[in-house]
C-alpha cells in the first residue's frame, strides 16, 4: 500500500513497531485497547531497546496525561500553536490505541451536525426509507459502534452549534437516531481526540459546557535547538527530494535560521542574557521549514544553487510580516541589537539585508 499512495496511515507505516510492542506488552490494557498505556507511551516517545522510533520529541509528562485521559471516559483536547504536532500526535495515539487513525472529522466553518452524528444515502433513503443500509454513520458513530478512537481536527473552526452537538455524545456516550427509533451506545474503548489551534481560534470559542468534557493537553513549540535543527533540515530535504531538487544547505545556515526563529519566538537570546521583542505572527517549526525551502527554491532557480542568508532573509520577511507589517519592527530591532553583534557569514548576510527592509 505504501508504495502506491502519497501518505499511508500510521497503522500501516508503523505496522512492525506496533506488532513488536504487542509482543512485548504484558501490562493490563483498558477495555478496547490494543496496547497498554505504557506500551502506547513507548510507541509515541520511542524506546531504544525495542527499536521504536520516537514520534514525538518533547515533555513525557504531557504525553502521559494524554494517554491517561484516553484511558478514562473523558475526551482529550490537544491544543497548541500551529505547527506543534497536535494532529501528528492525535494520529499516532489513535493508531497505537485502536489500530485505526482514519476515523477523522476535519473541522471547518462548513462542518455540519450530520458530519458529527450521521447522515443518509439519499437515494437509498428515498427508495427504502430509513434503514441501517441508508444510514451513513459519521466517524464518531463508527468509533462508538466499534469501541475505537475518533479524531476531530480543528474543532474550534466549527460553529458553536455544531461543536455543542458533541456535548451530549461526550456526556451520555450515546447518539439517538430517531429515524430508526433507537439509541446507539458507545462500546468501551470509545473516546475522542480533538485538536485546536490556540493562535487562530477559528469561528467560535468552545462553550464552557463543551470544554468541561475535555482534558486539555498543550503541546508547546520545540525549544531545543538541536532537535529543531534536525527537524527543519530533515523536512526541507524531504521536500526538496519530492520536487527533485538538489540544493546545498550549510549547517551554519540551518543553525542561524533556527536560532533566529527560537530567539524571536521565545523573546530572548538563547543564552538568556538579552530580551528581544516577539512578533505577533506564528514562528513555528513549520514556518522555519517553509522559509528554508523557499530560500532553496530562490537559490536554485534564481541563484547559484547554494542557499545563503540573503535568500533566506527575503522569505523570512514575508514569514514575519504575513499577518501584520508592524512585526517587521521586531525583526529590525532584533537585527540591530542581536544579529549585528554576532560573528559568522550568515549573520552578516542577514544584517546587511536589513537596510533593504527599511524601504518596504
Amino acid at each position: 500500500m505504501q508504495a502506491d499512495v502519497i501518505r499511508a496511515p500510521v497503522e500501516a507505516r508503523c505496522q512492525e513497531e506496533l506488532q513488536r510492542l504487542q509482543a512485548w506488552d504484558t501490562y493490563p490494557k483498558p477495555a478496547g485497547w490494543n496496547l497498554s498505556p505504557r506500551a502506547v507511551e513507548k510507541f509515541i516517545l520511542g524506546d531504544a531497546d525495542l527499536n521504536i522510533k520516537p514520534k514525538y520529541i518533547g515533555d513525557r509528562d504531557r504525553i502521559q496525561v494524554a494517554i491517561a485521559t484516553l484511558a478514562s471516559d473523558r475526551a482529550l483536547l490537544l491544543v497548541g500553536e500551529p505547527g506543534t504536532a497536535k494532529s501528528w500526535v492525535s494520529e499516532h495515539l489513535s493508531a497505537a490505541i485502536c489500530n485505526d487513525s482514519k476515523l477523522t472529522i476535519q473541522g471547518t466553518a462548513g462542518t455540519t451536525e450530520d458530519q458529527i452524528k450521521y447522515s443518509w444515502n439519499y437515494a437509498l433513503l428515498m427508495a427504502e426509507g430509513p434503514s441501517d443500509r441508508s444510514l451513513v454513520p459519521s466517524p464518531i458513530l463508527t468509533a462508538m459502534r466499534e469501541g475505537r478512537i475518533a479524531r476531530f481536527e480543528e474543532i474550534t473552526r466549527c460553529v458553536a452549534e455544531v461543536q455543542d452537538a458533541l456535548i451530549s455524545i461526550l456526556s451520555e456516550k450515546a447518539i439517538a437516531i430517531p429515524e430508526l427509533e433507537r439509541i446507539e451506545y458507545a462500546k468501551r474503548g470509545f473516546n475522542i481526540i480533538a485538536t485546536a489551534n490556540t493562535r487562530d481560534r477559528g469561528v467560535n470559542e468552545m462553550s464552557s459546557a463543551l470544554k468541561r468534557r475535555f482534558n486539555f493537553v498543550e503541546l508547546p513549540v520545540l525549544s531545543d535547538l538541536q532537535q529543531e535543527m534536525a527537524v527543519v533540515r530533515q523536512r526541507t530535504q524531504e521536500m526538496l527530494a519530492e520536487h527533485e531538487l538538489q540544493t546545498d544547505i550549510s549547517n551554519e545556515l540551518v543553525e542561524t535560521l533556527v536560532t533566529v526563529f527560537q530567539e524571536l519566538r521565545q523573546g530572548q537570546t538563547l543564552d538568556g542574557e538579552q530580551k528581544v521583542k516577539t512578533p505577533s505572527t506564528v514562528m513555528s517549526t513549520a514556518e522555519a521549514v517553509s522559509v528554508l525551502f523557499g530560500g532553496c527554491l530562490l537559490a536554485t532557480h534564481f541563484g547559484e544553487g547554494v542557499v545563503n542568508g540573503q535568500h533566506v532573509m527575503r522569505l523570512l520577511v514575508g514569514a514575519i510580516a504575513k499577518e501584520d507589517k508592524s512585526d517587521l519592527e521586531a525583526l529590525t530591532e532584533y537585527l540591530e541589537t542581536v544579529a549585528k553583534k554576532r560573528d559568522g557569514r550568515v549573520w552578516k548576510e542577514l544584517y546587511e539585508t536589513h537596510r533593504w527592509l527599511k524601504s518596504l
Partner: protein
C-alpha cells in the same frame, strides 16, 4: 472532611526493626508524613525510657516550649550569635541557623509523643554554637536563603555543602530512573510503603545507599560520634532508648567500624555559646520552591497528607479547594472538574507505577482539567494551595527576633538616632560611613518599617543620584518594633527582608517605570544578588514597551544607576549592555512615537532631550544611530510639529547649514502651515536651541516673516501658543533676538520706503507686536 490525625493502625510494632547495638533507631527523612506516623507508632509500641532526637543539644531548654499545647507549628528554633567585627556595616548581621519543625516533622512528632506518654526526650546533636563555628571556620557565607545544616535539612550526612547535598540525593534518584529525589522519595516511600516496619527498614537501606556514595568528612564524623556518645552516656539501657536521627546517620552508626570516640576539647565544641529563640515559622519559608533548604516543596500538601492520612486524600483536598480558588481569580471551575481531575490523577499514578497520586499528579491533573492545558492558569492558586500560607505561633519569645536585634545594634553602631521626636539626618554619600547609613535606612524603608522617610524628594531620578546627598527624617514609634518583629517572618536580616520585598516586584511583568523603580531600590539597598534579576526584568519591560518617551526615561535612569554605581557596588559592565539595548530601542521607536497628539508631544520632546544628552555624553552609545533616526523623524511628514521643532533644534540645523533641514524649517513656518502647528514647531525649536535660534539672523528673518504674514484673526488665535513658545527665551537670548529683529525691521522699513511712500506699519507698531510675544513673559 473530618480533620483528624491518623497514626499508624498497627498497635504493635515488631521489635525487630532497625536496632543498632540494642538501641531502637528510627531512620528519618525530615518533613515526611509517613515517617512521622511510623515514628509515633514505634515510640508508642516500644515505650522507651528515653527518646533522643537529632537536634541541637544546647536547645534542650526549649523543648517544653516547642511541645507546649499552645505552640502551633510551623515553628523554628533559631540559634544566633552576634558577629565579631571591627567596623560597623549594614551587612554585619548576626550569624544564624534555623531548625524548622512542622506537624509532620518526625522530630517534633517524637517530642510530642514522648511528652504525651510522659517519656523524657532530649536533643543529642552537636550544639548549634558548634554549627555556627563550623560555618565561620569554613568561611561559608550563608546565603539569604540558607537554613540549618542540621536537622532541618534532609538526612544527608554532609549538610554543610548545599550543592553537594542536592547532588547526592538526585544522583541516587536518577540512577533509579527518576527525575529528582523528591519524586523518587514520594514514589518509592511516601506512597508505596504503608507498613511502618517496612518503611523504616527501607529508609535505613536508603541511608546506607547514601553513605556508600559519599565520603564522610571530619565534621560528619564528629556529629555521629557526638550523638552516639549521648546514647552511651545517658545511663539508660540501650533497649530502652529510641534514637530518632536522619537515615544516613542511622546507617553510619550501624557500620562495623563505627566508634563514638571524639575529642571533647574539639574546637567546635568549645565555641562561644549561641542564643536561641523559638519563633513562628511559615509554610512559604519552609517551601523548597522559595529557595529555603529543608527539602519540602509543598508544605501544605504534605500537611494535608498528614491530617487526612494519605497523599491520595491530600490530592483530593487540593483539587477540591482549587475550585474556589479558580473562581476567585475569575475562572470558570466546578466540582465536576475536581472529580475529573482526581480521576485523571489516579490514572496518571497508575501509569507512573505509583500506588497513589502525589505532588506531580496533582499538578498535571489540575493543568489538564482546570487549566485547559495552560499551566499558568492554575499556577498561582495551586502554589498557594500546595505551599500554603500557614504561619505558626510560638507560646513565648524570650529573646528579640533577629531583625529587631539587628536594628538596634546597627542603629547604635552606625550612630543613627532613635528618638520618638522627628529628627533630620543629612548624608553626604561621598563618605563611606554615610553610605552604610544610607543602605541601612533604605533597607528599612523597603521593608516597610516605619522609622525613616527620605525627604529629598523621590530619589529615583538621575539628578538625585548624581548629587549623592540624602536627607532623612527619623522617628521611632511603638509601631517600629511591631513591624520589626513581623518582618522576621520574611528573613533573618534586614537585607533578606528587603530582598524578599523587592524580588517579587521584579518578577512581575510590570511597566517599565515600576520595574525601574524596583531596580533602583535594589541598588539603593545594595542587594547585588538582585542585580541579575533586575537586569532581566528591565530588559523584558523595555521589550514590552513601545513608547519612545518611556524608553528614553528608562535609558536615562539606567545611566543614572551606572553613575551612582560607585557608591553601591554596581559594576558598569553589568548594566552597560542593557543601557545600549534600551537606547537602541528608544532610537528605533522615535519615528513611530513622533506621530502623536499635542499632549504626548511634550513627553516625546523631553525624551528626545534625554536621549540626545546620553548619545553625546556616553562614549559606548552609538551617537550615529540616534542622529540618523532623529533626522529621519524630523523630515518625516507624520511627525508632530513640536517634535519636529525639538528635533531640528537638537540637530543644530542653524549651525550645520543643512539645506534639507532649512527647507523643513521654512516649510513649518510657511503660510500654508496652520498657525497652531507653526507655534508648536517654534516652541519645540526654542526649547531645544533658544540661544542659537535667537542668534541666527536667517532664522529670525524666517520667524519674522511668518508672524507678519498672519492675518489678524489667526494671529490672535495663535498668540497664546506663540507666547508659550517664546517664554523659553532667557534674557540673553532676548537681547540677541531683539538685536536681530531690529536690524530686520530696519531693512524692512527701508525696503518698504523704496516701494511705498509710507510703510504699512511703523517701527513702533512692529516693536509692539514683538513685545506682546516675548517680553511680557520674561
Amino acid at each position: 472532611m473530618e480533620r483528624t490525625v491518623r497514626d499508624a493502625s498497627l498497635a504493635q510494632v515488631a521489635l525487630s526493626t532497625v536496632r543498632v547495638r540494642g538501641v531502637h533507631v528510627v531512620p528519618v527523612r525530615h518533613h515526611s508524613p509517613a515517617i512521622a506516623r511510623a515514628t509515633a507508632a514505634l515510640i508508642r509500641a516500644v515505650r522507651p525510657r528515653l527518646v533522643l532526637i537529632e537536634g541541637p543539644s544546647d536547645a534542650n531548654h526549649l523543648i517544653d516550649a516547642l511541645t507546649a499545647p499552645d505552640a502551633v507549628a510551623p515553628l523554628a528554633l533559631l540559634a544566633y550569635r552576634q558577629p565579631q567585627a571591627r567596623q560597623a556595616s549594614a551587612d554585619l548581621a548576626p550569624e544564624v541557623v534555623f531548625y524548622p519543625f512542622c506537624d509532620y516533622s518526625p522530630e517534633l512528632v517524637a517530642l510530642r509523643t514522648a511528652r504525651e506518654l510522659g517519656i523524657e526526650a532530649r536533643f543529642c546533636d552537636i550544639p548549634a554554637a558548634a554549627v555556627l563555628e563550623h560555618r565561620e571556620a569554613t568561611d561559608e557565607a550563608p546565603s539569604p536563603t540558607d537554613e540549618s545544616p542540621a536537622p532541618s535539612a534532609s538526612a544527608e550526612p554532609a549538610p554543610h555543602a548545599p550543592e553537594y547535598r542536592l547532588s547526592v540525593y538526585d544522583r541516587v534518584a536518577q540512577r533509579m530512573g527518576f527525575d529528582d529525589s523528591e519524586e523518587w522519595w514520594e514514589c518509592l516511600f511516601e506512597t508505596a510503603l504503608r507498613d511502618p516496619n517496612e518503611l523504616l527498614l527501607r529508609t535505613f537501606e536508603w541511608g546506607q545507599l547514601v553513605i556508600s556514595d559519599f565520603e564522610s568528612s571530619d565534621y560528619d564524623a564528629l556529629r555521629n560520634a557526638y550523638m552516639w556518645k549521648r546514647v552511651e552516656e545517658s545511663g539508660v539501657p540501650p533497649e530502652q532508648i529510641v534514637l530518632v536521627v536522619g537515615a544516613a546517620h542511622a546507617a553510619a552508626f550501624a557500620l562495623p567500624d563505627f566508634r563514638a570516640e571524639h575529642d571533647p576539647n574539639h574546637p567546635l565544641l568549645q565555641a562561644r555559646p549561641a542564643d536561641f529563640v523559638l519563633m513562628p515559622y511559615s509554610f512559604p519559608r519552609l517551601s523548597e520552591q522559595l529557595g529555603y533548604g529543608a527539602g519540602n516543596r509543598a508544605p501544605q500538601f504534605y500537611q494535608d497528607a498528614w491530617e487526612f492520612g494519605s497523599l491520595e486524600d491530600a490530592t483530593l483536598a487540593t483539587l477540591t479547594r482549587l475550585v474556589n480558588s479558580m473562581k476567585l481569580q475569575g475562572d470558570v471551575a466546578s466540582h465536576a472538574d475536581a472529580i475529573e481531575a482526581f480521576r485523571l490523577a489516579k490514572q496518571l499514578a497508575a501509569l507512573r507505577g505509583k500506588p497513589q497520586p502525589g505532588y506531580r499528579e496533582t499538578i498535571d491533573a489540575a493543568i489538564a482539567a482546570f487549566g485547559r492545558g495552560q499551566a499558568e492558569r492554575v499556577e498561582k492558586p495551586l502554589k498557594r494551595l500546595m505551599i500554603g500560607e500557614r504561619i505558626g505561633r510560638a507560646p513565648q519569645s524570650e529573646v528579640q527576633p533577629p531583625v529587631q536585634a539587628e536594628f538596634y545594634r546597627l542603629a547604635h553602631e552606625l550612630r543613627i538616632p532613635i528618638k520618638d521626636d522627628p529628627t533630620d539626618l543629612r548624608l553626604n554619600l561621598a563618605e563611606p560611613h554615610a553610605v552604610q547609613q544610607s543602605i541601612f535606612l533604605h533597607r528599612l524603608a523597603v521593608a516597610q518599617i516605619p522609622f525613616a522617610e527620605l525627604q529629598s524628594g523621590e530619589a529615583a531620578t538621575y539628578g538625585q543620584m548624581a548629587r549623592l546627598r540624602e536627607k532623612w527624617r527619623l522617628q521611632w514609634t511603638p509601631l517600629t518594633d511591631v513591624a520589626l518583629a513581623e518582618a522576621s517572618v520574611y528573613g533573618n536580616t534586614l537585607r533578606e527582608v528587603a530582598t524578599r520585598k523587592i524580588e517579587p516586584r521584579l518578577a512581575q511583568r510590570d511597566t517599565l517605570v515600576r520595574v525601574s523603580a524596583a531596580a533602583l531600590e535594589a541598588v539603593l539597598c545594595e542587594l547585588p544578588e538582585l542585580y541579575g534579576t533586575a537586569l532581566q526584568a528591565l530588559d523584558e519591560a523595555s521589550i514590552r514597551d513601545a513608547d519612545f518617551a518611556s524608553l528614553a526615561r528608562a535609558a536615562y535612569q539606567i545611566a543614572g544607576l551606572i553613575e551612582y554605581g560607585a557608591a553601591r557596588a554596581v559594576q558598569q559592565e553589568m548594566f552597560e549592555p542593557l543601557l545600549q539595548r534600551v537606547y537602541t530601542r528608544a532610537c528605533l521607536h522615535l519615528l513611530s512615537s513622533s506621530d502623536c497628539g499635542e499632549d504626548e508631544a511634550r513627553a516625546v520632546g523631553e525624551g528626545m532631550q534625554l536621549l540626545h544628552e546620553l548619545a553625546h555624553k556616553l562614549p559606548y552609545l552609538e551617537t550615529g544611530l540616534w542622529m540618523e533616526n532623529l533626522r529621519e523623524t524630523v523630515l518625516s511628514e507624520r511627525a508632530q510639529a513640536y517634535v519636529v521643532g525639538m528635533g531640528l533644534g537638537l540637530l543644530g540645523f542653524m549651525r550645520a547649514r543643512d539645506e534639507e533641514l532649512w527647507r523643513c524649517a521654512k516649510r513649518m513656518l510657511s503660510p500654508a502651515t496652520p498657525p497652531e502647528q507653526a507655534a508648536q514647531f517654534l516652541e519645540g525649536l526654542l526649547h531645544a536651541q533658544s540661544g542659537a535660534a535667537a542668534r541666527s539672523r536667517p532664522f529670525v528673518q524666517t520667524m519674522h516673516e511668518f508672524v507678519m504674514q498672519l492675518p489678524d484673526a489667526l494671529f490672535l488665535q495663535a498668540l497664546p501658543m506663540l507666547r508659550r513658545a517664546f517664554s523659553k527665551l532667557s534674557n540673553h537670548d532676548i537681547h540677541y533676538l531683539t538685536d536681530n529683529l531690529l536690524r530686520i525691521i530696519d531693512d524692512d522699513v527701508a525696503a518698504q520706503a523704496e516701494v511705498e511712500a509710507e510703510p504699512l506699519l511703523s517701527r513702533e507698531e512692529l516693536e509692539h507686536i514683538w513685545a506682546q510675544l516675548a517680553w511680557m513673559e520674561s
